[in-house]
Symmetry: C2
Subunit: 360 residues, 2 copies
């Protein structure tokens, strides 16, 4: 057993220390651990993996630990050890070199090696069941960005299967440039939609700028959001018809006060809609896809609306993601060849977070 | 204009009355309205549609109403008139004969006619934005069932597009019959999962009965739900390893008390899991599809788990559906060729509601 000396480790605190010879055998062949002057230090996750691979043995207080003992020890010492181990093992078995980092792990490109190759991305591990605060996720993304890396979320489900998502902040910019040149179009508020009764206005608003949906050749239905936007840029007047004798033009405050009773998330939805429209994009309802909006970068007026590139869902800045719902949203977006983007108010603007599934 | 007399209607309350001659011209050609001894009575929705089609004129207090006037009047008198009108017009233009009913409309099969053909289904109209209580939906389904009809939900989105869903209560019955014949398998509770460390138990539980997911050839990960079920049928003992010196076997109460801190919806999820398993189905996590479970009617032990037929999501009996989320769930289920089923506790059992998109 003399030649195996170097591969016998000692658990001390949350570190396993291996003799100096392990630096050659363990570090140089797979970049496990952190080489010190007189030893090689392994994290608990690395130790568990190498123990499982039977490449090392581990003693604690003169007693050998088997894999099960180590997992139990590590779970007592480290929050969510099991979830981290599942992700570590998966990535190692896919041939990635993976090291500890502030977000959990950093991953090197296949064929790359620490020291000579920069790492490819940072991984943050999550369990399907944990609620995740938007602000925490942003912080992780920014931590990665400060190191010029992208963040990958590794979500472990009940069955210990892993789904990888890339999460990144992005800007949204479309190619629609023209300005609507009309005003004083009369529109009637009817419960939860607004109707324009004017053939010429319909042609202008819908055929040229893709607002609303024609009910027939004379009637254009606008959503409350579209109506609020067109009212704000002074294209339409919204008329309240609920009192027969006293039809009145609503101010934007009055309209917003009404709209929020129909749609509680009207303010944030409107803020996101305005920003997207002002950035040259065509924005339509995403109801059929379970999101607030589907968004077109560019629409050819001759060909009409074909394929929208994004689903955008507006959330509050203190939003908490349920990972199961997030999975559903991203998966659905991909099944219709769109990118899933979440939008929220930050300072005076809107921030956008794109979450995409990744094949590893 | 004498020959048009019968087609001149009078709005009186929420009914438009046409002269006796309209019975031949309007009723017999499209089954609009309700024939009385001395007149034909139209609902507001029917009147608006016929006015739009220019088949009738309507007077109120000696003044002719144009389409816009009628829509405004009707919206004042009827809740959600606009949503109902959108659905009515759509179905009429698809060639269906459609009449008023308790749920909103009843629809006759193409080519069928009231009086000689039974109606095909009942339609309930909804706006995308309305929250819908599970109990209200069940009531509508039961109303339809009492008339031996299926219920169809017509959901009108912001853009006045309609998505049709069939909603029906169903039973769930699988074909897996065998009983697990083992006991006293030791399993360790590790944070949010349970691990069985035993090669033989792994073979039995996973390979034969599809419990858990093998981490490697010696370790089987069970979800908290699977562990609770296997504990209840006395196959496994769950051991708490959080105290090194005092490993103890948890009672099912202790385990449930812990599990609910990890998964707040643990009780309803477990109740649904038990019922599905006891009904001969294989139940695995549906995380990747944004639902609690994916469910297999039958699994061939040689071929392993291939295609699950259902996504099942457990909800509380006072659940309120957000139609946008419902749309996402159903659409995603269809995109992976599964049926979307919601499950909840009712009395001593579990009820199942299947919601599917319908092409009209």
């Amino acid at each position: 057993m003399n030649d195996m000396n170097g591969l016998r480790g000692c658990l001390s605190g949350s570190i396993v220390k291996l003799g100096i010879s392990a630096r050659d055998i363990i570090y140089n062949t797979g970049f496990y651990g952190h080489p010190r002057e007189d030893c090689l230090e392994l994290t608990l996750v690395e130790s568990a993996y190498l123990l499982y691979k039977k490449r090392i043995t581990i003693k604690q207080d003169e007693k050998y630990l088997d894999f099960n003992d180590l997992i139990c020890e590590a779970s007592r010492m480290t929050d969510n050890f099991e979830v981290k181990y599942i992700v570590y093992k998966d990535l190692r078995e896919r041939g990635y070199i993976i090291k500890q980092s502030v977000t959990d792990f950093r991953v090197y490109p296949r064929g790359g090696r620490p020291g000579s190759t920069p790492s490819e991305f940072l991984v943050h591990t999550l369990s399907e069941r944990w609620p995740i605060h938007l602000s925490d996720l942003i912080q992780q993304i920014e931590t990665a960005a400060n190191m010029r890396k992208d963040l990958v979320m590794a979500v472990v489900d009940e069955e210990s299967d892993i789904t990888f998502y890339s999460a990144r902040l992005r800007s949204m910019k479309g190619k629609m440039k023209e300005k609507l040149l009309c005003s004083d179009i009369r529109a009637m508020l009817l419960e939860d939609r607004v109707i324009v009764w004017d053939k010429d206005a319909l042609a202008k608003l819908h055929n040229e700028f893709f607002y609303g949906k024609p009910l027939d050749e004379f009637h254009l239905h606008l959503s409350l959001i579209e109506a609020a936007y067109l009212q704000e840029i002074e294209i339409i007047d919204i008329i309240d018809i609920s009192e027969k004798e006293a039809k009145k033009i609503l101010t934007s405050c009055e309209f917003a006060r009404y709209a929020v009773t129909v749609e509680p998330d009207f303010p944030i939805k409107l803020a996101v809609y305005k920003e997207l429209r002002n950035s040259g994009m065509i924005v339509k309802t995403g109801y059929k896809f379970g999101s607030h909006y589907r968004v077109y970068m560019n629409v050819d007026k001759q060909k009409g609306m074909k394929h929208s590139e994004f689903l955008v869902h507006a959330v509050e800045s203190d939003h908490i993601f349920n990972l199961s719902q997030l999975s559903r949203a991203v998966r659905l977006a991909h099944s219709v060849k769109k990118q899933m983007v979440f939008a929220w108010m930050a300072g005076n603007g809107i921030n956008y977070l794109q979450i995409s599934r990744m094949k590893m």
